[in-house]
Structures are given as structure tokens and as C-alpha cells.
């Protein structure tokens, strides 16, 4: 098997990896904010429910969550819901990743929001701003700056975590490399796959460095 063939096959899997990564971010970033509000609400039942949920998701392995999302509907209720989709395995993985990462993001948001001083809220209040205006024009912009470092950490972890989707047979780049291994008895594509992650994360690191620099026009 030639280098170019291996590259093409790995690229195929890498497409899935990138798609899973991108869609997880697209859905988990706003969902995380929603969960964050839930875990900070004054309405106690909702707050406890949300915090218990976050505890469960953060307290169990993502791999098990993939299993639960994908297999449990079929096993307990005789209804393999993801078989309705052409790429149901990918959808199941996406659901599990979005839930898992939204919970992690929600805690980062919460830390960021709680780090904003009471004085900022009071300054907005005496200037007659609404709660929405206060949050979106004063709190959130400052939260964004504070959470860039922990977020970039989590997002880089996500890139590598996507390879867990192969436990429910989503054909990502590692799965593709493993297949080459079992079909062609070639080991090196597995390490070659690592280079894809390395380059991708290298680009992300540059991007986050750029964002941090962009946001350094003010200090708190």
C-alpha cells in the first residue's frame, strides 16, 4: 500500500474527525451557556437538577456515555433510534459529545461569570441598564477574555477525544488507521494519524494565541 493511498484513506477518516469536532463546538458552546444559566438560577429545583446532571456527565467516562446514547435505546426499549439516520452512528456520537462538552463548557462559563465583580453589575444598575444589556454588553465580553485559556485547553482536548467515537464504530482517522493495520498489516499509518492531530492542534494553538493577543487591549 502506497503512502498516497494511506494518506487518502486517513484523510477520509480525518474529515469525519473534523466534522465531529466542528459540529460539537457549534452546538456545545451555546448549550453550555444554557446549562450554565441553569446551574446558576435562583430557582432551586432547576439548579439542583442541572448540577446533578453536570455531575453525572463530568463524573463518568465519555466512552460510557457514547455507549449509553447509542445502545441503550435499542437495548431497553427495543428501539434503535439512531438507525433512522443514514449516518446514525455519527449523529449518536455528536449527541454524546455535545452533551459532554456542553457540561464542561458550562462550568468554565460559570467560573468566568462568577469572577466578574459585583461592582460591574451595580455600575450597570445605576446607569439604568436592563439585565440582558448588562449580561451581553458588560459581563459576557469580560467573561470571554477570562475563559479563553481554559477554553482553548478544553477544545484541544476535544480534538483528541473525537477518536473515542470509534467505540461505536464511527469511522474517524484512528479507526481508518486501525483498519489499514488489520487489512494490510501496516503499523505506521497509526503513527502517521498522530501527525494529523498534531498539525490540527498546532493550528488551533496559533489561533488561540492570536485571540488572546486580540483581547489583550485591556487589562482587568
Amino acid at each position: 500500500m502506497k503512502f498516497i493511498d494511506v494518506t487518502l484513506q486517513l484523510l477520509d477518516g480525518f474529515g469525519t474527525t473534523c466534522l465531529l469536532f466542528a459540529l460539537t463546538l457549534v452546538f456545545a458552546l451555546p448549550l453550555g451557556l444554557l446549562i450554565c444559566f441553569g446551574s446558576m438560577t435562583k430557582f432551586k429545583p432547576l439548579r439542583y437538577l442541572t448540577r446533578a446532571f453536570v455531575w453525572i456527565i463530568r463524573g463518568t467516562p465519555l466512552m460510557l456515555q457514547l455507549f449509553v446514547v447509542f445502545y441503550v435505546p435499542g437495548m431497553l426499549f427495543d428501539n434503535p433510534i439512531f438507525s433512522q439516520f443514514a449516518n446514525g452512528r455519527f449523529v449518536a456520537a455528536l449527541v454524546a459529545f455535545v452533551i459532554n462538552y456542553a457540561c464542561y463548557f458550562s462550568e468554565i462559563y460559570r467560573g468566568g461569570i462568577e469572577s466578574i465583580s459585583k461592582g460591574q453589575y451595580e455600575a450597570c444598575a445605576v446607569l439604568g441598564m436592563t439585565k440582558g444589556q448588562t449580561f451581553f454588553h458588560v459581563v459576557l465580553p469580560q467573561v470571554v477574555k477570562r475563559i479563553v485559556p481554559p477554553m482553548s485547553n478544553e477544545i484541544i482536548t476535544l480534538v483528541k477525544d473525537t477518536s473515542l467515537a470509534r467505540v461505536i464504530a464511527v469511522i474517524d482517522i484512528v479507526f481508518a488507521a486501525e483498519t489499514i493495520l488489520s487489512l494490510k498489516a501496516l503499523i505506521w499509518p497509526l503513527f502517521y494519524a498522530g501527525a494529523f492531530y498534531l498539525i490540527f492542534n498546532g493550528l488551533l494553538t496559533l489561533l488561540f494565541g492570536f485571540i488572546e493577543k486580540k483581547l489583550s487591549y485591556y487589562k482587568v
Partner: protein, 264 residues
């Protein structure tokens, strides 16, 4: 207090509605009715030669591939192939994402308790794979005792290495990983399917390996696994008998070089 009650009610409503949504589609029917009804037989496979693999044009071929297609045709359904993780095969089966495990699946007593097997169709055995340089030392099963054996977790090879050879187990995620362990020197030998070994050992990165034919292990058989209690196994048995009688299965076996192991 009011809020506590509200919270409990909220949880209950959520749980009940979830169950209702999931359970809505379940019906009372036998497995064969279910499979024949949807007109597809989804076979759980992993990719390996000569059972299920892609040719140069990217088409899925192999002995099990063509065999399954032939059986499906007889039963009036379409054979579909779903690549799975071998370690998840039972959960895939029970959650109904696949209808059967059709991928060189070794029959044994433990598996029989949870899986409905069809009649066996191929003879197989486990074999010991070592570095070619060490081949001469492996003259008998006794030599393997206490050495490090790389095996796929949950495979027939693990049972053989543990009970027959009395080796120390090095667990691996796949049979090919077991071969890699031997290559890297972290295990002394691997115990894998002879059919797999014959198609991989001596090739590519496994060029430095060899099958220790002097170490004899119990023979075993391949069959197709259905959900426990499924009436589909019986229907497939009927189709296999027809395919044996008209020579179709013999032709497929010859094409993939396993005619010698075919059970008639």
C-alpha cells in the same frame, strides 16, 4: 416544600416521557418477522482478509461477504454490512443495530449462553504466532507455559492461551494488535485465528513473524450469531443447506482459499 414537590414531579414527568418515546415503537413480533419484515439483514463485521475486506475498487468482498449475500438472496432480504468494534459485538446485536454477527465468529459454550448460533460452516483453529527468529524453539505446547501471550480480549485465542497453553495473558483490543505486541517484543507470542494468521503473517510490517505449526491447539468452528432465542438462525440454516447442496458455497470457498476448511 412546594418547590421540592415540583422538582420531584418534574423528574418523574421527564422520565416517563422519555420511556414513552423510546417504547413507542416496540412491537410483539419474533426476530425473523422483524428481520424479514424490514427486508434487510444487517451483518456486523470487522474488516479482515479473507472474510470481509475491500478490493482495489473499494468494493466489499470476502468469503463471509459473498456467503451472507447468497443466504440473504435465498431468504428474500438484502444483506447489509456494518463495520463494528469487535469488542462491542454483543451490545450491537442486542441493541438491534445489527441483526447478526457474521465475521468468522468462533462457537464456544460460553457464547452459546447469550447468542443463538446457526450451524457451523467453517473449521478454524487458533495458532501460535512468534518472531520468525524464535520459530525453532517453539516445538510443543509445553514450551509456551508461563510465557507472555498477546491475545484479543474475549477471543477464542484468549481461552486457548490461558487454559491450554497456561501462558501469561497480555490483553489486546484486536487480533492484529496482538501481532504488533509480538513484533514490538512486549509479548513472546500471539494466539490468533489461523485463517487470519495465514492471510497476514509474513506480510507488510508482520514480515518478521511466523506461525508455529508445531504447537497444536484444539480445533474450533465458525458460525453465524443471532440474538439469543432468535428463530432467524433456523431459517438461515435452511438456506445454508440449500447453498451446500447446489455447490454455491463450495465455489465461494474456493474463490477465497478456504475450501479445505468448509464444513459440508
Amino acid at each position: 416544600m412546594k418547590r421540592k414537590i415540583l422538582a420531584i414531579v418534574l423528574v418523574l414527568v421527564l422520565t416517563v416521557s422519555c420511556i414513552a418515546v423510546f417504547a413507542a415503537c416496540s412491537k410483539d413480533q419474533t426476530d425473523a418477522e422483524y428481520i424479514l419484515g424490514k427486508k434487510t439483514l444487517v451483518c456486523g463485521i470487522t474488516l479482515y482478509e479473507p472474510m470481509n475486506y475491500f478490493n482495489e475498487d473499494g468494493d466489499l468482498i470476502g468469503f463471509d461477504t459473498e456467503f451472507a449475500e447468497a443466504v440473504a438472496e435465498k431468504l428474500g432480504v438484502e444483506a447489509k454490512f456494518q463495520v463494528i468494534k469487535w469488542s462491542s459485538k454483543e451490545i450491537e446485536l442486542n441493541s438491534k443495530y445489527i441483526d447478526c454477527i457474521w465475521n468468522g465468529f468462533t462457537v464456544n459454550d460460553e457464547r452459546k449462553q447469550n447468542i443463538e448460533f446457526t450451524q457451523s460452516y467453517l473449521n478454524n483453529s487458533q495458532c501460535v504466532v512468534v518472531k520468525a527468529a524464535n520459530l525453532s524453539a517453539y516445538t510443543s505446547a509445553a514450551y509456551c507455559e508461563g510465557k507472555k501471550a498477546a491475545v484479543e480480549t474475549g477471543s477464542a485465542g484468549e481461552t486457548a492461551a490461558d487454559e491450554t497453553l497456561k501462558a501469561t495473558i497480555v490483553p489486546c483490543a484486536a487480533q492484529t494488535n496482538a501481532l504488533t505486541e509480538v513484533m514490538s517484543g512486549s509479548a513472546d507470542f500471539a494466539v490468533v485465528d489461523v485463517i487470519l494468521a495465514n492471510s497476514m503473517v509474513g506480510k507488510g510490517d508482520y514480515a518478521g513473524l511466523a506461525v508455529a505449526t508445531s504447537v497444536a491447539l484444539e480445533p474450533e468452528e465458525y458460525a453465524i450469531g443471532f440474538r439469543k432465542g432468535s428463530d432467524m438462525a433456523e431459517k438461515v440454516n435452511g438456506a445454508i443447506k440449500e447453498l451446500l447442496a447446489d455447490g454455491t458455497l463450495q465455489t465461494i470457498a474456493e474463490k477465497y482459499g478456504v475450501a479445505g476448511q468448509l464444513i459440508k
